[in-house]
Amino acid sequence: MTMLLEGILVVDATDQFGWLAGRILADLGADVVKLDLPGTDRSRPRWRAFNVNKRALDLDPAKPSGRRQLEELLAKADICLLTPISSPQDDSLDADELRRRHPHLIVVVISPFGRVGQRKHWRASDIELMAAGGAMSLAGEPDGAPVRVSEPQAYSWASAQAAVGALTALYRREATGRGDLVDVSAQASVVIAAAHAPAFFDLNGVAPQRAGAFMTGRSITGARYRVFWPCRDGWLNFIFYGGVAGRRTNEQLVAWMGECGAELGPLANIEWQRWDATRTTQAEVDAIEAPVLKFFAGVSKREFLIEAHKREMLGYPVSTVADIITDPQLEARGFFQTLDGERYCGSFAVIDGERPPLRRTAVTSERPPRRAGGRS
């Protein structure tokens, strides 16, 4: 197959802030050369996950030979990904210098707070960026500390936005022949993770708060609905929704419970067509949730996944990593791929009916690639 970004050369000089950006471009078919200082540890799982599908190249721009090699590569490259905080202090990878020396180049600068503003030099890791972008304020117990996702997310949000920025600039270059500089702020990149929550404050002056394992704000009575339910081997995510989809889900749950001989309590008498999630009181919510709590305690995560799919119910189990890697849906779509004896997440999209196979493991350093054709 001809890959979408066939013939596009990317120099990836990033640290963890930008690893996923290069991975996205590589998954789409670009030839991505990952630069690292000699001696970089490439055995760490996170390094391998985000740098598979790239070529690895040991290069020290502080040495004349490294500098020469870098310039040769940049002269042929279409896109250069930078995370300046960890870049060399000389001008070998200075974004403005690169733009001056290589006008055709699309230079993508990924930094915690972007290139403008009084805090552009502030330092941050994942937790400060999830805080700065608003996402952390929405996760955690209402009366407790805000929490982040225990696996770093801000670097991936920044990288994902950087890849869109790089390709926006690449599309423009196809028409104009001119490169560009793409300024990516990790803080600003995280804000979209809060979805529509900011609009509540903007339009009505109400700031949504973290709600823990429950959902509030759906009933005018102030009732809170359970979202996470303990089950036989972990947790389930299930909510009593209203609307057409909610009605079907609720009806099917009661039918499933009935078939299993579970105690239905007040669920037995509810007409779901008339049930209104927006007017239910806390006492009513508690009463309908009690038998479900008991029923779910005996259901396994995989059982719920299968039944919910069969019955077209909304809701999913709360997966662990072990659940994810054995999911038959991912197996059927060939999502995980094995390369040189190691399993990885495969390319993120299926294109023209095929998931582009992973091409290289990026474990050992190699000579810079020679390209047939392309920019000279």
Binding site: I127, A132, P146, T168, Y171, D202, L203, G212, A349
Partner: protein, 406 residues
């Protein structure tokens, strides 16, 4: 309005579907100049219009959803009744005009309507089309309907959020939808580059579940390599100590972390407890992890007496990572986001002023913008079919009389 030629001004996009994962792609392309047409019908408007607040003044209305508008600025809105044959003809004409179709119906719906990729590629061989849904177009659970807030649980995010001895946590909204829309945005742009170069179109099958797993790739790889099963761990980090959220004097919180002993020495001095760094209980990261409760108490004693802004400024001044935990209100007053013009107010005909969200990136020589507010339902039928597609007034009127713009 931006007067500089925008990066994507040649691109024409048609969207079928609604909610977040599809429309957010078109919104981003629209911010960089693409002409984006959001297709709905009066019978089946975008689900965000009616089912999702906020509404200004808490008064709902088909054109008053702040949730819909946030993901649909910089677009044109048309209504086509796809239950009518003529409606389908009109949709196909729109596809013939376009470079890109984005749809997020359940798998099979577009084919049943006669708008599947094979059919559309016959009309327009250069067409790039992206289908996005929970599970992808194939596989045993391809037809699973679902919301992104719940899919975030299946992809591991909720299980990885919260404290080890507590329940999983929600991530507010359809967190995973925006991972998919960003990865999908890259995929369609790559498809458009190839289409422009070779004249060959592309069909992209995007599973929101699989996209989400790329944000979990680190823990998945760790499990493959070592068998280590990652679990939620509050705000802890295996390397950094301290690393967490600390309460401040006015109900605010601040996030901070130290990644070396030198950084901890700087923090200890800044909070007036330089002796802490000399204490064997806190001198190394391992020791600080072992005495986490005492360490956190010492830091919290200092943060509780100060505002989050003061804490962050003080610690940044000595080279320590720190930032206030910004609330939804704070997103609109944060000086750094303001410097980037993260929020840009546009006036909507029925909702009045709304702050629209700019992407996390910008181009120096071809900057993007919020080109206009989100469209009212069917507001651009005349403009799109007359001015963009070049249809004659009489033809448009004939369609209108037959209720095709329904």
């Amino acid at each position: 309005m931006n007067t500089i030629p925008q990066a994507l001004e040649e691109i024409k996009v048609v969207e079928f579907g609604g909610y977040a994962a599809g429309p957010h792609i078109g919104k981003m392309l629209g911010n960089f100049g693409a002409k984006v047409v959001h297709v709905e019908s009066s019978d089946r408007p975008d689900g965000f219009r009616l089912q999702y607040p906020p509404y200004p003044g808490s008064r709902p209305g088909i054109n008053r959803s702040g949730c819909f508008s946030l993901f649909n600025d910089s677009k044109y809105g048309v209504t086509i009744d796809l239950k009518k044959q003529e409606g389908l003809e009109l949709a196909r004409r729109l596809v013939g005009w376009s470079d890109l179709v984005v749809e997020n119906m359940r798998p099979g719906v577009m084919q049943r309507l006669g708008l599947g990729y094979q059919t559309l590629a016959e009309i327009n061989p250069r067409l790039v089309m992206l289908s996005t849904c929970n599970m992808g177009q194939t596989g045993p659970r391809a037809d699973t309907p679902g919301f992104g807030s719940q899919l975030s649980a299946l992809a591991g995010f909720c299980g990885m959020t919260g404290f080890a001895d507590g329940p999983p946590m929600l991530l507010y909204g359809p967190y995973i939808d925006f991972i998919a829309s960003l990865l999908g945005g890259s995929a369609v742009l790559a498809g458009l580059v190839r289409s422009r170069r070779s004249g060959r179109g592309a069909y992209i099958d995007l599973s929101q579940y699989e996209c989400g797993l790329h944000f979990m790739a680190g823990v998945l790889q760790d499990y493959f390599a070592t068998g280590h099963l990652a679990e939620r761990s509050g705000n802890d980090d295996a390397a950094a100590a301290p690393h967490g959220a600390y309460s401040c004097h006015d109900g605010e919180w601040v996030a901070l972390s130290c990644w070396s002993d030198a950084e901890f020495q700087a923090l200890a001095a800044a909070i007036g407890k330089a002796a802490l760094a000399e204490d064997a209980a806190f001198a190394t990261a391992a020791a600080r992890h072992a005495h986490k409760s005492k360490l956190d108490a010492a830091i919290a004693e200092w943060t509780r007496a100060r505002s989050a802004e003061t804490v962050a400024e003080t610690l940044q001044g000595v080279g320590v990572c720190a930032y206030p935990v910004v609330t939804m209100a704070g997103l609109f007053s944060d000086p750094q986001l303001a410097a980037r013009r993260q929020w840009r107010v546009r006036r909507h005909p029925e909702m009045g002023d709304q702050a629209y969200e700019f992407p996390g990136f910008d181009l120096e020589n071809a900057p993007g913008d919020i080109v206009g507010p989100a469209p009212c339902l069917g507001a651009d039928n005349d403009f799109v079919f007359r001015d963009l597609l070049g249809m004659a007034e009489a033809e448009i009127n004939a369609y209108r009389q037959r209720g095709v713009f329904g």
